[in-house]
Symmetry: C2
Subunit: 244 residues, 2 copies
DNA sequence: CGATTTATTGAAGAAACTCAACTCGAGTGG
DNA sequence: CCACTCGAGTTGAGTTTCTTCAATAAATCG
């Protein structure tokens, strides 16, 4: 879609890049690969020597517990760097799955480390990316722990809508979001049956449509109000900030 | 207790420090302050210009939702750097409270940034610290989302036990952990009443004691087995790893 | 078009919550 | 030194939200 280097979209979200920095990023080699829907990208325990940007598709980080239950911990949308962690943490502590067909762009850790060493502001920017991700995890603890089911699902949709917007993936109030109801259940720690019923309620209230792999928000204020959603935790204002 | 610089214990957990690096850390100025139990350390929305190490006590990160519910997102024990985030994220996205009387050691962001610029390995080490914290959040999503109440509480105790061990705070199988049952309820997203009953069950099974501000694990294998606990997500093996 | 997901519906059941009272121990001040 | 208060912990009982199970409908895919 865009001829841009796969790391640039995310970096631009957290930092105003200088021309030299853009050039430095563009010198980082990468290799495009595809992963089919419902295939693993990385498994818990893996020790990657490269990280990747998700260019197209939808992926998730998840863990299995002993009784077979699965918790989705994060949803990854285009532009995201779902495995930045492995740049500094040897071993993966959760699975990474493609929820739909995905296009990935892999970068060797070696090259990323070179980039970080040569460009301290980019090093900081990547650290920031991981800190924002961390903030999202915190909000998910709150979401799963404290909010009743309808607010919980609504909150998830709000987050997706805002992040899709930030990734430039919203057109006409709607975006591609091909999660299944089972996926939503695993992300919100609800049963699939309950997700189905709550979804019907959200639709009945005229807040959103969610079908055929698309999410359309019909009433943002209503949805965000119901969900108790504030976008602070996504730290959207980073670009304009000082860097060391 | 220890005459060591307050940043050293945590850094040593993620990196083998050279003498020069130790010296560089020791040059970072800090200022000790106390915060009384149940007092805020930092509020959501704050824009700190310094970070701190928790030297003594117990603190938590938490968020309030609209209906008044409170979720504890993280527990901070001695040695932790609970507000490292603010070094790169302007605005705090959750509260930080002292659960008991705490001793903090504050470092100006300016000085930390200088340290990071001068010592790339320490920069990486601090990034790692924040990544491990992030991994703990992921596990909390799983804990709150997937585990039934007894396993959930057991898992929290396992985590505390292991982290206290890593901080050198376990003596004779027991450690100071002065959380109240209400605190545990907010950390596990259970009602206080239910926490009380589940605690009784854990004691009845002879797995642990938790009273008078102390946690004692009587049967580690039993507790860890019940909790489905594996310590991978704490990334305890980092010290021995390569750094760029 | 048959096969396989995915979505939907109904009904019974369980885990955990709420509410309210009560106990206990540690201070505190008369 | 004892009565009092206050926070923390404990107990009982009724209620709710959400789960589970099982069956059916609809949609998607080869």
């Amino acid at each position: 879609v865009t001829p841009e280097h796969p790391l640039l979209p995310k970096l631009r979200q957290v930092l105003e890049l200088s021309p030299e920095e853009v050039a430095a990023v563009e010198r980082v080699p990468f290799r495009r690969e595809r992963v089919a829907a419902d295939e693993p990208i990385l498994r818990e325990g893996a020790r990657p020597t490269r990280s990747f940007a998700l260019e197209e598709g939808l992926a998730c980080s998840s863990k299995i517990v002993s009784d077979g239950g699965r918790q989705i911990i994060a949803l990854h949308i285009p532009g995201d760097l779902p495995d930045l962690t492995s740049l500094h943490l040897r071993q993966r502590d959760c699975d990474l799955w493609a929820l739909v067909d995905c296009e990935l762009a892999f970068h060797d850790h070696r090259d990323l480390q070179q980039l970080c060493a040569a460009q301290p502001r980019l090093n900081t920017a990547l650290w920031r990316v991981s800190l924002v991700e961390s903030s999202v995890f915190r909000e998910w603890v709150v979401n799963v722990g404290q909010r009743e089911s309808i607010k919980r699902l609504a909150h998830l949709f709000c987050e997706i809508a805002v992040r899709m917007q930030g990734a430039g993936r919203v057109t006409g109030g709607s975006c591609a979001f091909a999660a299944t109801q089972d996926d939503l259940a695993e992300a919100t720690a609800m049963s699939p049956v309950h997700v189905n019923r709550v979804l019907q309620e959200l639709r009945r209230r005229g807040l959103l449509s969610f079908a055929k792999g698309r999410l359309t928000v019909h009433n943002w204020d209503g949805l965000a109000g119901l969900a108790d959603f504030r976008d602070d935790y996504l730290h959207l204002d980073l670009r304009s900030e000082r860097t060391a």
